[in-house]
Symmetry: C2
Subunit: 193 residues, 2 copies
DNA sequence: CTTGAATGTCTAGCGATGCTAGAATCGGTG
DNA sequence: CACCGATTCTAGCATCGCTAGACATTCAAG
């Protein structure tokens, strides 16, 4: 069945191409510019081909979101593993998170703002999303403070970062002071042992 | 020139009707359902009439946002004025904020998520938006802590609330624990004199 | 090598969307 | 009452997500 295998491989390859192209287009010109027609043209196939891989545009956004979540987890772990001590780890984590959001706004939106048809905070949440949250929890769990649930603390810290990320990018918060806000956030929320 | 005055009055009245109808439609069925056709039908005029009042859908969203921001400011001040002491005030503020976001999701989106063509964090920011921020600052300024800029502290607290509001509504955070998250947030961020 | 069926892809089109030009109608004024 | 300017509507454009059915390609059997 080598023929079928080759076809499957090519199909998977094309699917990766679709996701990568959608992501690229979204980062370059925003998600509004990611139309099925433009996307089809870029991958040099017709529109219906997209629908043979995904149910619709939502699922394509969802695929970009999963890819992005995996990268976010990697970036967070890389940042924290390079830091010494809980305090430095949390600061590095926060910076890495906001950095990711700033550098990959479209991907960040796909993960947290847009509707990619993904389940959250459930058992059937996709693995990459769970893992990204786990990456947060790993460093934040050690500064939650006595008697405070680490999950709840992580949710709160994450929400704060998310708020900073989205409000800053939407022009609601002036970017220059981002660093000071992060310092204040870590100062106040993290309880050092 | 009584005739012109009457016309102006009727025109202003119709503009209010457009904004109110857009808001109602958005709260009932989401902003995606607020199409120029549906909106025109509901106010019993044709589409071009909308464009004689607003440049486009964006400006309509912006008008809803300004109206909502004014209400948010009122709600925040009502909540804080009924509380005794800085700590109680801040808790009441946080609850009122999240309550507003939960009860008026479409309006909240118009203010903080969607593009209503509004300027933020500038001098030419519309008054209602500035005032809503001022309402936050009034109560948060007294718990910023020594040596911490009250504006910066307010921005951070606001971002945290915004993150909680949006992530919760998007199904990213389980709603039942909202209360505990708010308590933790106030506990950690607010510095009592 | 030919042929038939199955698989894959494309063309063309549907119902909506935001927005607008030009026709039609309305209303105040001489 | 009749006209003319302001107002409103009809009808249409380009584009959107999505899909049915025509077309092409590929593989296996004769």
């Amino acid at each position: 069945m080598s023929v079928q295998e080759r076809k499957q491989r090519e199909r998977a390859e094309r699917e990766r191409l679709i996701v990568a192209t959608a992501r690229e287009l979204a980062e370059q010109q925003g998600w509004d510019a990611v139309t099925t027609r433009r996307l089809a043209e870029r991958i040099e196939y017709s529109q219906p081909v997209l629908y043979s891989h995904f149910r619709g545009k939502r699922e394509i956004i969802g695929a970009v979101a999963l890819e992005g979540a995996a990268e976010l987890a990697v970036a967070l772990r890389a940042a924290t593993s390079a830091a010494d001590g809980p305090r430095a780890r949390v600061t590095a984590l926060a910076r890495a998170y906001l950095d990711f959001a700033e550098r990959n706004p479209a991907v960040y939106d796909a993960i947290f703002q847009l509707d990619g048809g993904l389940a959250f905070a459930h058992e059937d949440t996709p693995a990459p999303l769970k893992d990204a949250f786990a990456a947060l929890l790993e460093s934040l769990g050690e500064v939650a403070g006595d008697g405070v649930d680490t999950g709840l603390f992580t949710e709160l810290f994450w929400a704060s970062l998310h708020g900073l990320a989205t409000l800053t990018r939407a022009g609601r918060l002036p970017p220059p002071e981002t660093g000071r806000r992060v310092e204040l956030l870590v100062d106040r929320l993290a309880v050092l042992p």
